[in-house]
Amino acid sequence: MKAKVVLDVADKATLIPKIYEIAALNARFITITCSDLGEFFELVYFFEKDSDIIGVRARIKKGESPPSITSIYPCAFLAENEIKDMFKLDFAGLNPDVGGVLLRTSETETLLKPTTGIQPPLFRATAKCFENCPAKVDVPRYVRYISEGKFKEALETILETNPLPAICGRVCFAPCEEACRQAKKEEPISIRALKRFVADIVGISPREVTRNKPTGKRVAVVGAGPAGITAAYYLGLLGHSVTVFDELPKPGGMMFVGIPKYRLPKDVMWAEIEARFKEANVEFRPNVRVEDLDDVFNQGFDAIFVATGAHKGAKLGIEGEDHPRVMDVLDLLREVNLHNKHPRVGDKVLVIGGGNSAMDAARVSLRLGAREVWVYYRRTRKEMPATPSEVKAAEAEGVKFEFLVAPSRIVDGREDKVRIEFIRMRLGAPDASGRAHPEPIPGSEFIVEADTVIKAIGQVVVVPQGFKLNLDKRGRIITNPDTLETSRPSVFAGGDAVLGPSSVIESIATGRKAASAIDKYLGGSGLPEPTLKLEYVPKAIPEVVLEMKKIHPPELPVESRIKSFDEVELCYSKEDAIKEASRCWRCDWYE
C-alpha cells in the first residue's frame, strides 16, 4: 500500500505532450514545485494516479517561459500564479488575473474564462472609434444597441451628433474602423455598414422629435452640403428659423455632384436630407446663388453660416493642360450626377491622382463604357490617400494602376486623342505631410496615348468676392477654431470652405459645432458636448469575440455592377448585422 513515486523528465518542448499523457490517465493534479538552481529553474509537476505519485521534472532556463498547463489542468492556475509570484517566472498562456478566471464549470470544457456578466463601470473609457470620429458619434453604444437588436435606439444614438446616418453609412471613409481594436487583426468591425443597416432598417422618414420653443431668430445657411445641412438641422431643433440657400436645384452639395451614384443613390440622399429638414422645420431655397452676404442680411437674417465647399478642380500646372480631352473629375461627375448625362470617354481612360476621387473617376469611366482604365499615381500604393476598400473595389472592377509616375506635359495629339508625357519618379525624403516626397528620375520620360485624361488631384476653395471674408493663402475662410466665427460679425463658416477638401463626416462635425456656436451667439445655450453617456456596459468574452469572423456586407457582382450606376454595396441582413455588431470588444468597458 506504500505510495510509489515515478519521476519523469521532460524539457520545455516535451512538457505539454507529457502532461497530456498524464491527463489521459485521469491523474489528479497536486501541485508544482519550483526551485532556483542558479542557471535554470527546476519545475516538478506532481500528479496522483491510484495512490501513486507521478512527477514530471522540467528544467527551464532563466528568461524562458515554460508553457502554462492550465489548458489541460485548469486548477493549476493557483499553483502557477504562486510560482510566477515567488520566482518571477512567467508561464506562457497563464492568465495572471486570478480574479474571475474560473467559471460555472459543470458543462463547459475549458474552465479558464474571464469574467462575464455586466459590471457597472465607474465611467466609460473612451473607445478608439469614438475618439477617432470627427463628429464624435457614440460608436460603441450604437454598435451595442445593434447587437442587442435595438435598432431604433441605435439610430437615435447616431442622430445625436450626426444627422445623416444613411449617407454616412454609405460614403463615410470610416476613421472609426481604422481605430477599431479588431483592425489589429485586419478585421475591423464594419461600423459604417452597420450604420447604413440601421438607417435602412428603421427607414428614412421624418421622426417624432421635440423641437425647442421658437426663438424668433432667423439663420441663413449658404450651401446645402453636409456642413450646411447639419448646421440647419441642429439650429432648427434649437428653435431657430433656418433657411438654406443653394445654387443647385437639389440639396446635397458635393454629396450630390461629387459622389457617384453607385456609392450613394441620390434618392436615398434626398430622402434623408428632406426628412431632416422636415423634422427641424428648415426652409430650402434651391437655385439661388448667393454672391453677396449683405443681400442675405437685408432679408432679415440674424446670422449666416457659410458652407460653400470646395468645388473647383485643382490644376496640374503643366503645358497643354487645356486640351479638350483632359477633364477634371468634378466636371465629369457633375455631368453624370447633375445633368444625368453619360458623356463619352472613349476606350482608354487615364486617371491622374491617387485619392478617393481618382477611384471615383476610374470607376465612373468604366460605367461610361471605357474598356481600359489606368490610374497613374506619383507615389506608391502605400502612400495612396484613397481608402483601401475603394482601391480594392476599383481593382476588382478591372482598373489598372501605374505607380511612381507624374505627368510632365501634354503632347498635342489629334482632336479626339490625347498624348501625355509622364516621367518616372522615385521616393525621396519624407515631406511635411510625413509621406515620402517623390523626385523625378531625369531621362525616364515616356508618352502614353489615351482617349480621355481625367485629373483627380484635389479641389480648391473658391469663395465669392462679395462675401468680404478674410481668406488664407489657399483661399479658405479664416475662422476662430473654437466658434467658427469669421472676420465678419454674425457670419460663421464651416465645411470644406474652411477645412479645404475634406470628408463628409468632418463637414458634419463642423456643422454641428457651428450650430452650437451660432445658438450661443443668438443667446441660447448651445448643443451638449458629445460625450459618452454612462451606461452599463457588458464585458465581452475575448475568446468568443476573437473567434467570430468578420462578416462583409454583400456586394453586387463585378460583371453586373460595371454596366450600371446601381449601388454596389448592399445592406446587411438582420442576423448578419447583429452578429457583426457582437464582435465588438467593448473597449469602453472600464476596469
Binding site: T33, G55, D85, D97, G99, P528
Partner: protein, 377 residues
Amino acid sequence: MSSSTGQSQRKYTVLPFGPQHPVLPEPIQLRFTCDEEKVIDVGVNIGYVHRGIERACELNDYRRNVYLCERVCGICNFMHALCYCRAVEEILDLKVPDRARYLRVIWAELNRLESHLLWLGLFADAMGFESLFMQFWRERELVMDMQEKTGGNRVIISTCVVGGVRRDIKGTLADEMEQSMIKLREKVKKLEPVILKDPSFKARAVGKGYLSKDLAIKLGAVGPTARGSGVEKDVRMTGYEAYGELGFEPVVEKDGDCYARALVRFYEVLQSIDLILKALKVLKSMPDGPIKVKPERWPEGEAIARVEQPRGELFYYVKGNGTPYLERVKIRTPTLANIPPLLAMLPGCEIADIPVIVMSIDPCIACTERIEYVRRG
C-alpha cells in the same frame, strides 16, 4: 433635441466577500457578480497573509523546521510536523519505531477531532445556528484538554520530531485518554440527531454548493470536499504510519452538497475516536520501547510526503543537499487545492448561501498563502 432613453437594462452587482468578513476570520477575497440575489460569477483574490514560511525553512537547521512547519496551521499543527518529518525521514531512510507510529496516529487524529469539531461549530454558526455552535465547541474542549495533557500545549503540541515523537502516552494518561474519548463519543452521538434530522440545518445545507464527482476529480478536490462528492480518496488509505495496521475505510457521501460534506466530517469525528481507541489498545499491549531514532546524517536528495489533514491531502516536497540546511521545502495545503472546486460550487447559489458554501470546504487561508498577489489596476 431628441435623444434615446434605452430600456431599463439588467443590472448586475459586484459583491466583495472579504478580505474582512464576519464569517471568515481569515483574509480571502471572493468577488461575486450577482444578478439580484443570484450569484452568476465568482473571482478569487488571495495573498493577504503570506508569511514566507517556505523561505524560512531554507534558513533553519532541518530539525528545527519541524517547529516552523507546525506554525503553518495552528489547528492541524501536528499534521504539518508529521508530513515534514515523513518527507525528511524518507530522504534519511529512517525507520520510525512502532510505538512512535501509533503515537503519531493518536495525535494526528486528535488534531482531526479538534479541527472537525471546530468546523462543525463554525458551519452551524455560518447558518446562524448558534446553539449548535456552542455545543460542538463545548465538546471540543475534551480534545483540547487531551492535547494539553499529552503534548503540554492546547494548540501547538510539538510532539513530532524527525525520527519519531518526543513524548509517550502510557499508564494512567492512556487510561484517561481512553475514558475521555469514550465520553466524547457519547456526547457527539447525542448531537447526531441534530445533524441528521434538524429541518433548519437541512434547509440550509441540503442541495447547496453542489460539486459533481467528475468535477471534483477534474478540479483536484481533496479531503472531505472530494469525499462529499463521492470520490473515494483519502491519503490514510495508503496506510502510512499505523493506519495500515489499524484498518481504515474512508467515509464517503455521494450527494456532493454542503450537507454531504458536513456528514463526512461528522462521521469522521466518530471514526477518529475509534481510531484513537484502537491505537491506544495496541499501544497498551505493546511493550515499552524507544519512541524515536536519531538521524545519523544530513539529508541529501529529495522526497515528497502526503498526509491526510482534516481538510484533505497535505503535500510536502523536501529537497536537501547534504548540509543541515534544506534547499527547498514546498508546502501544498489542502485549502489551495479546494479553492478551484469552491469557485465551481458557487455560481448559481443565492447570496444568503455564500457563507455556508464557503465554510463547507473548511477554508484555512493562512496555510494556503504562498503567493503575494496584487490585482492590477
